[in-house]
């Protein structure tokens, strides 16, 4: 374990130093990479003056949800850069994965340390900025459980998105080509989770409750932190499911990935 960790730091350290070689480019990338967050939220903030709220959620409450999801997705996107289905699919197609399998180090660890896209810091800081704005605007009654639960929810969300990325990568063992449809679950999932789930039609919400249980990561924790009533009358245990769902998704993803790796046949290129 300790050896893995030090190896991770060494490999990732190389990556980071490489990315920092072109300073101007790097900062340009950081700033633009996260601009979509500000643009989306800024547009919403501008038009909400006309509408008042979205299904009973004020701009500040939306900012709470939006900032948390964006920052969590950004952190995941940085840590799991190696598992980005787009880049990983390319590795499989070009046969680069075979190289990793020849080395005396765990393949999953090598993929984790193969990339750490620092430019994602842009999305993270801008998501965090929106979140802090929400805390400032809202008058949240902070209790001890809330303070303790907040980082756990955030961490669970990172794991959940990470699990989706890993599943997306594992699929490419069979399809070889990276399948863009996975973007619906990863980027689409993040976009969907940044709005309160009560705005979606019943069938969509059921899919994201029972099949891809995203609702327990964003919506129910947010209801808990903001002391909002649950319009669907679920048992109160739903507020506490986020760590279970988050870790299980990541665990499932990694298991599926190892299964794929065992059955992997190289393209031979």
């Amino acid at each position: 374990m300790l050896r893995s960790l030090s190896l991770y730091w060494r490999l990732v350290g190389v990556q980071i130093r490489a990315q920092l070689q072109y300073r101007t480019n790097f900062w340009f990338d950081v700033i633009t990479a996260g601009m979509m967050t500000i643009i989306s939220f800024g547009s919403l903030a501008l038009i909400i003056q006309r509408f008042g709220s979205i299904a009973g959620w004020s701009l500040a409450e939306l900012a709470f949800l939006y900032g948390m999801v964006e920052a969590a997705f950004g952190v995941m996107d940085m840590l799991f850069s190696g598992f980005d289905p787009g880049t990983f699919g390319r590795q499989v197609r070009l046969g680069l994965l075979d190289q990793l399998m020849l080395r005396p180090v765990d393949v999953v660890l090598q993929i984790f340390s193969s990339d750490l896209a620092l430019r994602r810091l842009g999305r993270i800081t801008q998501g965090a900025f929106v979140f802090i704005l929400a805390i400032y605007w809202l008058d949240i009654s902070w209790t001890l459980p809330k303070v303790l639960y907040l980082p756990l929810v955030f961490f669970s969300m990172v794991c959940f998105f990470g699990g989706l990325f890993v599943i997306g990568s594992a699929v490419t063992f069979w399809t070889v080509d990276s399948i863009e449809v996975m973007n619906i679950f990863t980027y689409g999932g993040a976009e969907m989770m940044s709005y309160p789930m009560n705005i979606y039609s019943n069938w969509m919400r059921r899919v994201f409750t029972y099949i891809i249980p995203a609702i327990f990561l964003n919506y129910y924790p947010a209801l808990f932190f903001l002391d909002k009533p649950d319009p669907f009358g679920m048992p109160s245990v739903v507020y506490w499911l986020s760590p279970v769902v988050g870790f299980c998704t990541l665990w499932l993803g990694l298991s599926f990935f190892s299964f794929g790796l065992r059955n992997y046949q190289s393209t031979g290129t």
């Binding site: 101007t24 480019n25 340009f28 990338d29 633009t32 601009m35 979509m36 643009i39 989306s40 800024g42 547009s43 919403l44 501008l46 038009i47 909400i48 003056q49 006309r50 509408f51 979205i54 299904a55 399948i179 863009e180 449809v181 973007n183 619906i184 689409g188 976009e191 969907m192 709005y195 705005i199 979606y200 039609s201 969509m204």
Partner: protein, 263 residues
Amino acid sequence: MRLFFELAWRAFQRQMAYRSAAFAGLMTNFFFSLLRVAVMVALYQGRIEVAGVDLRQATTYTGLVQAVIGFLSIFGWYDLMNNVYSGAIAADLLKPMSLYKFWLAQDAGRAIAQLLLRGIPLMAAYALFVGVIVPTNAIQWLAFMVSLVMAWLVSFSFRFLLNLTSFWSPNSLGISRFGYMLVWFLSGFMFPLRFFPGWFVTFCQLTPFPSMVNTVNEAFLGMVDGPALLKSLAVQGLWLGMLILLGQWVLQKGIRRLVVLGG
């Protein structure tokens, strides 16, 4: 003109070869349009009309936005810049055709293929699952068609300019990304421009970006008619002229300092 059509046809065929990628793009666009519709319905909350836009118009608008993503390459187009960095631009410049027309022809083929593979199927699926309103008379259809072609020309001329930055900067990609961000923010891509506060709309109208998305959608939805419609088409034409001139001027400056290494 013959060469123009040949180039467009080749580009069209090339795009048509990537049908599975186009299908994936279509699915993604459709999924995002469903999300945006949900947001729109939640914003309206039973209101009949907001800022002169009724809910049917608003939801159709979100569908139209997703339908033109491929057609206008709203998420980016980097082919010309890649040719500058690889040196293939030298061969492009030797062609008996201006660089602008050479790429315009190829983009025409690409855009039409994207319209057939993604734009029209998306609106068809959207009509089936969400419901749309369509232009009610021939004049409106005609105005929409004209506006759509103009939007593509404006969009291409803008993308051409962004790509030309590669003649100067090794980081043309970053500059372009910034340019596309302006498109997302100021064109009516996120929400209909009418929903925004007056000062913001005024600011947008000082830029060419509404001519790419908002004008087309308003023409399709019948939100403008008569003199106002003619005016919005004229504004598109004006921006097109300005962007073409600017593009030619920048191109001339750029070619003078371009150095292509042999190899």
